[in-house]
Structures are given as C-alpha cells and as structure tokens.
Symmetry: C2
C-alpha cells in the first residue's frame, strides 16, 4: 500500500501529506466539590491565542498516545493532578473554533476529590472556579463547559458520580447538596437521608476515627486546606478581561449553629456489588 505522507528532515515544514490534515487536541473539565461548592479547574493561558484568558487544561494529541492518554498527560503536566475518573465528553469540531488552523478537540471530564494543591510543571496559573461563577472562557470552552454540566447531570443516574467528588469521609447533608447542585433540584432532607442510608452504600465512620481537626478549625489546618491558588495581585500583567475566581469571603467558612452531622464513607464492597448488578445510583 502506498503511503500518503512523508517526512523531509531539515525542511521548514517537515511533515508532508497528500491530503490536508487537521490538528487534534484534548481538553479536560475537572470537577471537584468542596465547602458545598462544585468547582472546575481553569488555567490562564500563557500564550496566544487568547493569552491571559481562562481555559480548560489541554493540548495537542501526540501520534503515539490514545486520546484518553493524551488528556491525562496534559492534565498532569498542567496541574499535577491525577484523576480517578476521566470520561469522554465529546468532540468539538466547529471549523473556525481555533484561529491558528483547523483544530478539533476531544473533550473529557474528570472527577477528583478535593486536594488543595494545584500547580503545573510549567508554572501556569491555575485556579478553581465555582460552576455558578465562571469567567469568560477562551475558544469555544463555554460550550464544552455546558456539555460537561449536562453530562454530569446524566451520568449521575448511572455512576456514583458524587463519591468521586467528595472527600474520603463526608456527611450526608454534604452529599445531598452536591446532588442538588448537579441536578438543579432540591430534596427533602429527611427523605434523602433515609434513602441513601437504606441503599447500604454508606458506612458510618466511628467516632474514634474522626479526624481531630475538622472543617473550620484553627491555624495549622489553613495551609493544607486552601484549595485556591490565589492569583497574587500584581504578580503578572493580567489582562483586564480575565479576573480571577471569586473567593469565599471568609475561609475556611464559619460554622453555623446546628447539630454536627455524622461522618460517612463509601462502603466499597456494597458499591462493587451494586455496580456488578447494574443498579442505578439515583437518590
């Protein structure tokens, strides 16, 4: 079979093809959930096009990697994060979506537990934005974001989406808020609790095991708990078009009066069993 391409070493444009080829990138919408807020990770672009604007981490797909591997590599390079769950969102292929050349992108979404640390090898600025408070995005990333939210809303019926977003231990009201944010509804507090407990997918964390320092404790906690890399004001020339994320006024958030909720964790045996039997994870 005759090849349709060749490689001319030393030429200005060394890769030569019989037919026109487009470029392929991957982009990744990374979700996490912390302080009852669903957030996505954005990086500020360091190069044209859209220099200084916010975008999802991503980049060109290499010839020797699958699309999924490319998305995970870019994620790691730009944010040092490893995702437990990464799923394809879809292809975005508008002809003019990139001003440089014809570029199609394969979008993924990933779910990670709150970890705090975000910083890429290339020292690009990265920050978590609440989903209800997104800045203007580069390229057609607004469309990608909307697709990701829609997709989350669907997948939550079939996958235990929530448990990949929550911390290792969490409270049932936390879980409920997450479901409410994703689905855009509200549930009766008491019915939700009974339903999720009845499913048997949670196990209570014994009192002894509970971490001494919980949410909203004193100074030592601060350092590791800060999830946002606050863009230091004045550290770089920031185009006025791209403000940083709106941070919570007080951080960590002040505890409000009310009984302290019990901590739970995922019952992994029960979860595996439910997945095996194809049960749905609707609450």
């Amino acid at each position: 079979m005759e090849k349709n391409y060749t490689y001319a070493k030393g030429a200005k444009y060394p890769y030569q093809y019989k037919y026109e080829h487009m470029a392929v990138t991957t982009d990744c919408v990374i979700f996490t959930y912390e302080n009852r807020t669903l957030k996505v990770l954005l990086i500020r672009r360091g190069m044209d096009p859209y220099k200084g604007e916010w975008a999802f981490p991503g980049g060109f797909l290499r010839m020797n990697e699958t699309a999924e591997a490319g998305a995970m590599r870019e994620l790691m390079e730009e944010t040092s994060l490893e995702a437990s769950t990464i799923r394809e969102l879809g292809v975005f292929s508008d002809v003019k979506r990139d001003p440089r050349e014809r570029v199609i992108t394969i979008a993924y979404y990933a779910l990670i537990k709150p970890s705090g640390v975000v910083g890429g090898d290339d020292a690009a600025e990265a920050a978590w934005f609440p989903v209800q408070d997104m800045p203007k995005l580069a390229f057609d990333h607004q469309k990608i974001f909307e697709a990701a939210m829609e997709r989350l809303r669907r997948d939550i019926h079939f996958e235990p989406v929530g448990f990949n977003l929550l911390d290792e231990t969490f409270t049932i009201p936390d879980l409920q808020r997450l479901y409410e944010i994703i689905l855009g509804t509200t549930f009766d507090r008491r019915n939700f609790q009974r339903k999720v407990l009845a499913s048997g997918i949670l196990e209570e964390v014994p009192k002894e095991e509970e971490p001494v320092l919980e949410c909203c404790m004193a100074e030592p906690e601060m350092a590791s708990k800060i999830p946002e890399r606050r863009p230091e004001p004045g550290s770089a020339p920031i185009p006025e078009s791209a403000p940083g994320p709106i941070l919570e006024e007080t951080f960590p958030p002040k505890r409000r009066p009310g009984r302290i909720a019990s901590l739970f964790r995922l019952n992994k045996e029960k979860y595996a069993e439910m997945k095996e039997e194809g049960d749905k994870f609707e609450f």
Copy 2:
C-alpha cells in the same frame, strides 16, 4: 501569528506541517427496527485495507465541515439515507487501529425508520444485519458496535429512542419487543401496555386510516417492503471471510394466530411537552 503549515502546489505531498498531524474519519452505526428485529447497516469495503469485509459507513472528515456534518455526508454518499437522529458515540483513537497511518475516528449512531431502499452513489454493497447476528467487522468496528449498543441502552432512558426506530405507525407489542431487545430484559405484556398508554405519548390510529395492506400481505407489498439488498450470489468476487446477512427464512414473516394488535402513532404534542419538562421516557 506564524502559521505552522503551508501548501506547495505541484509537489507529490503538497500539504506541509511543522508538526505531525493525524487523520480524522467519521463512522456511523445506523440502527433500524423491522419485523421485531433490531438491525444495523453495514457496507462491504471496496478497497484495501480490509477489502471485501463489512464495516460501518464512514470516511475522512473534510477541512470545511464539522464532524457531525461529515458523518451525515458520508452516510448520504454511501447509503442514500438521511437520519432523523444522529448522535456522537465517542472517539476511537487506538494508535494502530488503521494500518495506513495514524487515524482517529469519531463514531456516531443514527436511528432511522425502516425504509427498505439502501444503495449508495458509489454502488457499494450495503446490507442490514440483525444485531444478534453480526459478521466479523473491519478495523476496530466491533468495539464501535459494542459502544453503540451500550449507548442505546443508556439513551433510551432519556430520549424516545424507540419512536425514531419504529415505523410511523406501530403496535404496542412491537414497541415492547424493541425495548426488550435494547434493554435485554422482558416486561409483563399487560403492565407495559398500561404504562405506555397511561403516559399519553401514543394516539390510536383510527380504523379507517389503517393501511389496507398490513404486515404479511400479498404480492404488491413485497417490492417496497424488502429491506435487505440481498447480495446477489456471484455478482462480485466475495472473499469467504465476509458472508452476507442471514435473512429471514420466509419473507414477509408468516402471521401467527392471535388477535391483531391496534395501531398507534406518536402523539407529537404530548411528546414535545414531555421533552420540554425533562420527563424520562422509561417504560
């Protein structure tokens, strides 16, 4: 901004790029439902690689069309079919999935009503295969097929998948079989009937409007009802690796004893209303 590519007229390989580029194709899994059988459309490849083997219709994506437009164009070119519903299935990007060069494909699935006529401009051989009776497929199309079935199984909860596959008018037992095939379960005949009627999404076709010639009638019907382009034996040199579809023994299928079911059609107002309100379409 400097370009990363150029175009050298007259050269053997005129399209030149600074970085290596991969090729992008689209493929389309087309479903229909007829005689209580769920079928997909395959074409026999006329060229290497995999010459003579069965594959989904598809081809290279052009620089001036979106992926979805490309999938629809290829579908039209190869089968003369227009699909009411076409949805992205996912990207298949294994590094070695095409022996010619690095090619990633964007797979789609489409749902069409039984129409009978199948024949492409390029006169490639096309045939419907029952999903439970698929031949060996070219490339990684077996993987694509499995993804399509899985996807159908999911989407049926949210979209009225069935009504895009069924004829304009249909019986409730037909609808039930379709759901059973897709979901791999069985339903109680009586409960299914009540449930689907209670949803209000169907309207009964008045007796007067019923087509005079129904299923399994005499000769005049035959010509237009034949859905398969039977591969004429001996019309072309067929590699033994790629046998044609297994056809029903008698066609049209012989009617069995039993009461004749009433005909229904989709109530479009009710359907639009349900879609508006985000209702699920589970039966």
